[in-house]
């Protein structure tokens, strides 16, 4: 699979984890999206450094070729999936560690 296909798959997995597997429903919460926008800003800087300085170099055959702040557009999907899966697991585990209310890990 190309990086493009894998990146799309990862986003689908992340959404499925939030919606059905872990049922954290972070994607429906404002806390998540505020966090994501802040992290996206810093991702554009750090990822821009990693790709702009050519620390990481991409095979043109495995990406679409569309770039945002030097980085392949696929990196945005990669970052979104990484952040979403991590925060869903964190939300699920912290809700489990301190059961309160109806016990769901929904937005506060």
């Amino acid at each position: 699979m190309s990086y493009t296909e894998l990146a799309v798959t990862a986003v689908v997995l992340a959404v499925a984890a939030d919606r059905w597997v872990l049922r954290t429903r972070l994607l429906y919460s404002r806390d998540f999206w505020i966090t994501y926008v802040i992290l996206l800003f810093f991702q554009l800087i750090t990822n821009g450094l990693l790709t702009g300085l050519r620390i990481v170099r991409y095979n043109p055959a495995s990406i679409l070729g569309l770039r945002v702040a030097y980085a392949p557009v696929e990196d945005l999907a990669f970052g979104f999936a990484l952040i979403t899966i991590t925060l869903c697991c964190w939300a699920r585990l912290t809700a489990a560690a301190a059961p309160a209310g109806d016990g769901t890990a929904g937005p506060s």
């Binding site: 190309s2 990086y3 894998l6 990862a10 997995l13 404002r30 806390d31 998540f32 505020i34 966090t35 802040i38 992290l39 810093f42 750090t46 450094l49 990693l50 300085l53 050519r54 620390i55 990481v56 170099r57 991409y58 095979n59 495995s62 990406i63 990484l82 952040i83 899966i85 991590t86 925060l87 697991c89 964190w90 699920r92 585990l93 912290t94 560690a97 301190a98 506060s108």
Partner: protein, 118 residues
């Protein structure tokens, strides 16, 4: 410079670790939960990275990494990336939650699971 990638990671930590203390989020003070939360992401994304390296989808400039290569051709910086960035994300998420509801009490250490004495 061989330290370039490591310095980028260090900058990410410098920007987010203070959130632990400024917002009293108790993320780094719950290391077991934090590591457990990172585990699925580590398995998934390290596998992805190893596949991408194997399939020549991306490569690393040997002049900008310290040269410690883990099995599978994974530079140690890339492995650290999947520890550092998720920790930054959790710190930011908890800080946003605290910032938006400042009166929410800081999470305390989990109380003993022991029931009331009989």
């Amino acid at each position: 410079m061989h330290w370039t990638y490591l310095l980028v990671l260090a900058a990410c930590l410098c920007a987010t670790v203070p959130l632990e203390f400024v917002f009293q989020v108790r993320v780094l003070r719950r290391p077991v939960i934090l590591l457990a939360a990172l585990l699925p992401e580590l398995v998934l994304f390290l596998s992805w990275d190893l596949y991408a390296i194997h399939a020549h989808q991306w490569t690393y400039d040997p002049r900008r990494i310290i040269g410690v290569i883990l099995p599978g051709g994974l530079p140690v910086e890339e492995a650290l990336f999947f520890l550092v960035v998720p920790v930054c994300a959790v710190l930011a998420f908890e800080a946003v939650k605290r910032w938006r509801s400042p009166r929410m009490p800081a999470p305390r250490p989990a109380p003993s699971r022991r029931r009331w004495p009989a």
